[in-house]
């Protein structure tokens, strides 16, 4: 079957090439329709319990899902006339930006404050007009610091920072709004008053990331391409294999990306990395050219060299591509949408690669002029002697010291396992930006000065309607608040308790003694009614539900680390017994982040383990031997364990980019191992009898091993350029891609020979009769 396809492709190369071009144009025409989706919420399906509950909580308490935070900092204090008038102007102008939910913008000029003077109650924004005298400024300062709802939310304890909170519509683009706010900032920053402006919040980070994602991929994919182009050129000394590799890689990327986008699926952070992945996986061409050059050198006949090449490398190519595709497709078994999309996308691209290996690549080979080939392979011979000699030396060393190598490997594994113990599963989207990037600086400053940008909601559910009005319920909520605030990660907590205490004080002539929860349920009920006549409905509705059965406790965290929310959760479960009939249910962005963190990362990890098992089974089937399957899986296992161990030792969080990257070893480590073992056993069967093992292993390391080394070096180089990207996930990709490449290659070329030598009885006992098993089909006596 494969032979007929290859034969056809050699006979009608132009037809094959044009067909591929036509199909690629078709897939490529879908690319401009690409949309990004960087909202972490969409990582879980809309029906997942955490999203359903979050939506319910947002609706019940009239909360907005997306907030932009405008931080204003002045080292000599923000409570000066100049800065205050800027706050008023910015608040006013921001409300006019399309996509902003104008009626709920919170700042000095919109946040209601209830104050008392004798028998009179005043209800007005904390700053209805910009103060013109020092007396008015002092009054503003007093009312800000007297109301605990404002401290750390609207004014920092040191008086040097304030914030404007801007809710935006779900469909609005955070970056577009952020850009308009930045323009406002620029206008206001000119006067030399020393005001600094910062922009933070989930939508800004998300949409800025989405926009940068495209830019980074647009810049770094071609640069990686160029570097690899040069490296390939140096390795093969000719443009043709380079062009062939590039063409095949492009086809895979265009088909897979175009197909996904054509289906209307948005590009997530994970799938945005798939072009890089596909380029790394589409190495079939390198192996084909590697073998073809040797064959052509031996026979001098183009057609037969192509057919022979495909006969010996065809099977391993089919197996490597199928295991890679199956491994990635396996990721789709989970319920995390971007992981599913990513898995299927790469699987599809790998199948496209397999198709190209038997059609486009042979077609391109058949267009090479024999004279040109002779010139090229003459050069190849020289190359071979140099690289191959070194490889042979390496092989001899590891075969000779196979016990040492094995022990060394075990030691490395043990050390890595210790490192794995230290791995912290955590994800922090703000940290996807570099420490000096605008988004990260803004987030850090605002977290430093004010309560914190990561918000969680703890919904306290009472036993019956009206439970929230009961003083005992309120007292318990207050206790929880005080307990939570002990943690340095918790910047601020706010609840209906703060409202009730505030009104109690105000009703009693602003006497601080009365800043407590009143003893009677009726008093609480009447306070809340009073508040609904002087404040905005949201000031109440954000904290209690309509039947007054549930209270919403806001927790502001100083970091987006999932671990911070984990601490909050621990504290809640600790105090469960003290809560009586009250049940606490968490929600909000920070909680979602935690769930997402656990589900996505652990889900990814389980999916990956599942894929590994599947790959093991496939390899056992492919070699028709469980033993060889196990040995072939070792480089994969080794690479993963060492990399995770390294991650643990350097203290890098096991986050999304790392979890995605580890899947790449599915496509690389197994490829290398399959090529190595297949060619070893094939050679052994070809030679017949029981050829000397050491020689055989040395040949495998020197000849097919050269393809592996070429492959590994090529990509390590190509992707190391991504270390210069502006987004940390891409830097991680660049760094770890190189590491995975080199580790997999090294494991394959050093450990496999040593292990085969060590376990020769166990592994080779059954292999003697292999010649009849199809290994040497059609290649008798052609390899010398």
């Amino acid at each position: 079957m494969t032979e007929r396809i290859v034969r056809f492709s050699i006979k009608r190369p132009k037809l094959v090439i044009w067909a591929v071009i036509a199909l690629s144009l078709l897939f490529g025409s879908q690319l401009p329709r690409a949309k990004t989706d960087t909202d972490p919420k969409h990582m879980l399906p809309a029906t997942s319990p955490v999203r359903v509950n979050n939506d319910k909580v947002e609706e019940r308490f009239e909360l907005h899902a997306d907030w932009i935070v405008l931080g204003i900092v002045n080292e000599s204090g923000v409570l000066n006339r100049n800065t205050l008038s800027k706050i008023a102007r910015i608040t006013d102008e921001v409300a006019g930006i399309p996509g902003v939910i104008a009626y709920d913008v919170v700042s000095f000029t919109t946040a209601d404050n209830v104050t008392a003077k004798g028998q009179d109650l005043y209800a007005r924004p904390v700053m209805s007009t910009v103060p013109t005298t020092s007396g008015e400024t002092a009054a503003l300062r007093k009312s800000l610091y007297e109301n605990p709802m404002f401290v750390d939310r609207l004014i920092s304890k040191d008086g040097k920072a304030t914030a404007i909170y801007v809710p935006i519509e779900k469909t609005a683009n955070g970056k577009v709004i952020a850009d308009r706010v930045r323009a406002l900032f620029e206008k206001e920053a000119k006067d030399g008053n020393g005001d600094r402006f910062y922009l933070a919040g989930d939508p800004v980070a998300r949409d800025t990331f989405g926009a940068q994602m495209f830019k980074q991929m647009a810049v770094f994919s071609p640069i990686a391409g160029i570097v690899m182009f040069i490296a390939l050129l140096l390795m093969f000394g000719s443009l043709i294999p380079v062009i062939a590799y590039m063409a095949v890689a492009m086809v895979c990327v265009i088909w897979a990306m175009g197909g996904t986008i054509g289906l209307g699926i948005p590009v997530h952070i994970m799938s945005s990395m798939s072009p890089v992945f596909l380029m790394a996986i589409s190495t079939d061409t390198v192996h084909i050219f590697n073998e073809f050059y040797f064959r052509f050198k031996e026979t001098g006949d183009r057609e037969s060299a192509i057919m022979d090449t495909m006969r010996v490398v065809g099977r391993p190519l089919i197996y490597t591509d199928l295991t890679t595709a199956a491994g990635f497709a396996c990721l789709a078994a989970g319920h995390i949408i971007p992981v599913r999309v990513f898995g299927l996308l790469v699987a599809f691209g790998t199948l496209a690669l397999l198709l190209m290996s038997f059609t486009l690549t042979p077609a391109l080979l058949s267009l090479l002029k024999p004279e040109r080939l002779r010139a090229l392979t003459a050069h190849e011979d020289l190359e071979e002697s140099r690289t191959s000699r070194r490889l042979a030396y390496l092989a001899n060393w590891s075969i000779l010291r196979h016990r040492l190598v094995a022990v060394g490997g075990i030691l490395l594994l043990v050390v890595s396992l210790v490192g794995i113990q230290r791995v912290r599963v955590n994800n922090n989207m703000v940290e996807w930006f570099k420490p000096k990037s605008e988004v990260r600086v803004a987030d850090t400053i605002i977290n430093q000065k004010l309560g914190g940008t990561a918000t969680a909601y703890l919904v306290a559910q009472g036993d019956k309607e009206g439970a929230v009005k009961r003083p005992d319920t309120l007292r318990r909520i207050e206790q929880i608040q005080r307990e939570l605030e002990k943690s340095p990660l918790v910047g601020k907590t706010t609840s209906i308790v703060d409202v009730v205490k505030r009104i109690n004080r105000v009703m009693h002539g602003d006497d601080p003694k009365y800043e407590v929860i009143p003893d009677s349920e009726n008093v609480v009920a009447q306070y809340l009614l009073l508040f609904s006549m002087v404040g905005k409905p949201r000031d109440l509705n954000n904290f209690v539900d309509y039947p007054m059965r549930q209270a919403n406790l806001w927790v502001q965290l100083k970091t987006w680390d999932a671990a911070a929310m984990q601490t909050v959760m621990k504290q809640i479960s600790h105090s469960k017994s003290a809560n009586g009939p009250i049940r606490i249910k968490p929600a909000g962005a920070a909680y979602f982040n935690l769930v997402w963190n656990n589900e996505v990362l652990w889900g990814m990890l389980y999916g990956f383990i599942l894929s590994c098992i599947l790959v093991l089974v496939l390899m056992a089937l492919c070699f028709r031997s469980l033993r060889w399957g196990l040995v072939a899986a070792l480089p994969l296992l080794f690479t993963i364990v060492v990399i995770y161990g390294f991650v643990g030792f350097v203290g890098k969080d096991f986050d999304m980019p790392i979890s995605v990257l580890s899947t790449l070893s599915l496509g690389l480590a197994t490829d290398f191992a399959i090529h190595f073992i297949w060619r070893f056993r094939q050679r052994r069967a070809e030679l017949g009898g029981n050829p000397p093992l050491d020689e055989l292993l040395t040949w495998t390391v020197a000849r097919p091993g050269k393809g592996i080394v070429r492959n590994a070096l090529l990509f390590a180089l190509g992707f190391s350029v991504m270390m210069f990207a502006a987004l940390t996930p891409y830097i991680t990709v660049g760094l770890f891609m190189a590491a995975i490449m080199l580790l997999s290659a090294l494991t394959t070329l050093v450990y496999l020979p040593a292990l085969v030598k060590l376990w020769q009885r166990w592994l080779l006992a059954k292999d003697i009769t292999l010649a009849s098993n199809g290994y040497a089909r059609g290649v008798e006596g052609q390899e010398k």
């Binding site: 319910k56 609706e59 019940r60 009239e62 409300a95 006019g96 399309p98 902003v100 939910i101 104008a102 009626y103 209601d112 008392a116 028998q119 009179d120 109650l121 005043y122 209800a123 007005r124 924004p125 209805s128 009206g466 009005k469 009703m507 009677s520 349920e521 009726n522 008093v523 009920a525 009447q526 306070y527 009614l529 009073l530 609904s532 006549m533 002087v534 404040g535 905005k536 409905p537 109440l540 509705n541 539900d545 309509y546 039947p547």
Partner: protein, 259 residues
């Protein structure tokens, strides 16, 4: 809640007389129309039982029942509200005195503490007890606070109406950028209103669902205000409406409020 209500006027006779006084074919200006709405006949005093049903987007409800007494009209009106339900706020009182040239006086009484507090609120457009109506909808809004323009005529529910666009003279004094009112030509009752925000998006929508003639006075018996942006809405019904029962001035005092 009484936008329609305030509006609600027109002893038919009075309206007819006024119309007869107008020279045939003379066009009323937007301001003329809104003044007629403000000045329409509403009796010397009025008492009613009001039920406000507040409904969230998710369908959760909060019901408030209150007794409402009013005396006078337009900018000399006095209003006394006494909450009846829910039980834990029963007896809470709210008294309003409007003045022609200065801010309204408002007092609130909390029975659980036996306390009266005068309330001074800068924002007259603040929600009334968490509903979609604002304080001004209850107490009234001065006609000259807005610039009124007649934009045409339309039929609402088979009744010929003026369409008047009103924009606040001081844009900061209101949460809306402008509103459009549909005023019945025969009775000068506002039967529909639409509010728009600064971004030009629809904000709120008032519909009068039931208009009744009681003692010769056009009376809104039910209306609905919908917040189109939050999905929240409020339905108000008026029962036991009685005009001219002879309420004395002593009813609208702080002392009476404390009872």
């Amino acid at each position: 809640m009484t936008v329609g209500r305030l509006a609600a006027s027109a002893a038919l006779l009075a309206a007819a007389t006024m119309l007869m006084r107008m020279p045939a074919g003379a066009e009323l200006s937007g301001t003329d129309i809104m003044t007629r709405v403000d000045q329409r006949e509403v009796g010397k005093d009025e008492s009613s039982e009001v039920t406000m049903r507040l409904v969230t987007k998710g369908g959760e409800q909060r019901v408030r029942k209150l007794n409402m007494l009013q005396k006078g009209k337009s900018n000399t009106k006095k209003v006394l509200i006494r909450f009846l339900e829910p039980a834990d706020v029963r007896g809470v009182g709210f008294l309003v005195w409007r003045h022609p040239d200065k801010d309204d006086d408002r007092w609130l009484y909390l029975p659980s503490l036996h306390m009266v507090r005068r309330i001074s609120a800068a924002d007259k457009r603040a929600s009334f007890v968490g509903s979609d109506f604002v304080y001004e909808d209850v107490a009234g809004r001065d006609v000259d606070q807005d610039k009124h323009t007649l934009t045409g005529s339309e039929s609402v529910g088979g009744q010929d109406c003026y369409v008047v666009k009103s924009a606040p003279r001081n844009p900061r004094s209101a949460e809306f950028d402008y509103k459009v009112s549909w005023v019945r030509k025969d009775s000068f009752v506002v039967v529909q209103e639409k509010y728009y925000d600064r971004q030009g998006k629809p904000l709120k929508h008032l519909t009068v669902d039931n208009l009744d003639n009681i003692q010769g006075i056009w009376t809104v018996r039910k209306d609905t205000m919908r917040n189109l942006q939050t999905g929240h809405y409020t339905v108000v019904t008026w029962d036991k409406v009685k005009y001219n029962t002879g309420l004395g001035d002593d009813v609208f005092t702080e002392r009476y409020l404390r009872r």
